[in-house]
């Protein structure tokens, strides 16, 4: 049986760093959401690659799709762009202030 140690979460174990613990909570939500967007984008990429090679992109084919090197480098670009975009306000708000 999986004991799901990781769901016995980190909360409360350490001092929450940052200007306000609520920022951590919200940022945690934003990061989790962005992670799902990134995953979905990669799923879509797998669909497109399968379709391009004439295969049926059903669930099983996508689940077992092994990205090629070319896929990986394209996906890395999506990812970096996504992170850059989501984090831009964070960096910008830091810079306004000081």
């Amino acid at each position: 049986m999986a004991n799901r140690a990781h769901t016995k979460s980190h909360r409360g174990r350490r001092l929450v760093p940052g200007p306000d613990p609520r920022v951590d909570t919200l940022l945690g939500m934003v990061m989790a959401l962005t992670s799902e967007v990134s995953m979905l984008r990669e799923r879509l990429d797998a669909h497109e690659s399968l379709a391009a090679s004439g295969k049926v992109p059903d669930q099983d084919a996508v689940d077992h799709y092994q990205p090629t090197e070319a896929d990986e480098s394209r996906r890395k670009q999506y990812r970096d762009r996504l992170i850059d975009k989501v984090c831009r306000p964070l960096v910008a708000s830091g810079q306004q202030d000081g």
Binding site: A2, T7, R14, P19, M31, T34, S35, E42, V91
Partner: protein, 378 residues
């Protein structure tokens, strides 16, 4: 789903979506450690340093004064929040893969238990990891390294094992392309050994603080005729390591003990290696670990260690500040004390001759790694 006959290296494969989430969290951590930290450094150079000078009449001289200079920076606070939340996301993301695979690992464990073993696993039922380490969740790994006594859990070992490459690469301390479970750092340390010494043919090799044994395998790979041992405090890690090694048909002897008091015989080993043990153990015990290594080495035997290259004299003030933040908030409580230690002095105090000790930096990935140790006199 893996079956009980499938080997674990094949079974340990994230699904498409798990791999995508892991890649995301790796990239996010890379952004936070890379791009965001560069922005912090720029803010320091352009503004914070001068603000501090105006107030105190001098530049910040150490991590404490540096932290004071950063205290009110929004970017610094948001960076902290981003490190914190990305760390949580990392554990959760890899945890999902471990949850899914744990039954397959357990099935494989049950199957292998019916066969004679190649190596061995010695755990002590009543072993209590010493203070202060047992109270710490290193890297904020949920539940820490140890778990309750008597548990048979594999999850902690899997969780560490699945995460460590991701973590290493996001810090620029890996080569970025290593598959989970490849003993890349073990091989790297053998390279560091080769750069310093003529080829050796050890009869016995010890990995101190071997954790889940993923790097230990490299030593058996390099020295197939040697008896290879791994010692660690963590029963769950050793349990995982034993399973992982047996599954690959590699004979390793795992033993639960403190590296400062292994219970192994004098002069048994020709080679003792550790990888990232020292920055994760409390510095009070460091002299005793070095004495133990000296005791365990045969004449002419070599002690070599690889660890994080974060000695303060090598780091800018912003980097010292972000490291110090990790020490306090991200489960690295022993890190700076280790970085402040003069390891050569400690090796000499433990019995190594001054002319036979070394402490320097080898290239690794885009950065460097701290390599230190000594050769026992003949």
């Amino acid at each position: 789903m893996a079956t009980d006959s499938q080997n674990l290296k094949t079974a340990y494969r994230p699904t498409h979506d798990e791999a995508a989430r892991q890649a995301f969290v790796g990239a996010l951590k890379g952004y936070v450690n890379g791009s965001m930290e560069s922005q912090l450094a720029a803010e320091y150079d352009n503004q914070l340093k001068f603000d501090f000078m105006e107030k105190h009449g001098q530049e910040p001289r150490d991590r404490y004064q540096g932290t004071e200079a950063f205290r009110h920076s929004h970017l610094y606070q948001l960076w902290g929040s981003a490190v914190y939340t990305s760390q949580n996301l990392m554990w959760e993301t890899v945890g999902d893969t471990c949850d899914r695979l744990e039954p397959a690992f357990e099935a494989r464990q049950a199957m292998l238990a019916k066969r004679p073993t190649l190596g061995s696993l010695e755990l002590q039922d009543d072993f209590v990891p010493p203070d202060p380490i047992r109270h710490v969740e290193i890297h904020r790994q949920p539940g820490g390294y140890f778990g309750p006594a008597g548990s048979t859990d594999l999850h902690r070992g899997m969780h560490y094992f699945g995460t460590v490459e991701l973590y290493r690469n996001a810090k620029g301390l890996g080569d970025g392309s290593v598959a989970v479970g490849e003993p890349s750092m073990g091989r790297y340390l053998l390279g560091a050994l080769q750069r310093r010494f003529d080829a050796i043919k050890p009869r016995a090799v010890l990995d101190l603080g071997c954790g889940p044994g993923s790097q230990t395998l490299a030593y058996k790979e390099a020295f197939p005729d040697a008896e290879v041992w791994g010692v660690d405090l963590s029963a769950p890690f050793l349990r995982f390591g034993h399973l992982w090694a047996e599954d690959q048909g590699v004979a390793i002897h795992f033993r639960q003990a403190n590296a400062s008091d292994t219970g192994l015989p004098d002069a048994k080993f020709d080679l003792i290696i550790s990888h990232i043990l020292f920055h994760e153990t409390w510095d009070d015990i460091l002299p005793a670990i070095m004495e133990e290594a000296h005791r365990l080495l045969a004449p002419g035997g070599i002690f070599i260690n690889g660890d994080t290259p974060y000695q303060p004299d090598r780091l800018s003030i912003p980097k010292q500040v972000t490291n110090h933040w990790q020490v306090i908030n991200n489960g690295e409580p022993f890190w700076t004390r280790f970085a402040d230690t003069d390891v050569k002095e400690a090796l000499i105090a433990a019995g190594f001759e001054a002319s036979n000790v070394f402490a320097d930096y080898d290239p690794l990935g885009t950065g460097e790694y701290f390599i230190f140790g000594g050769r026992k006199g003949t």
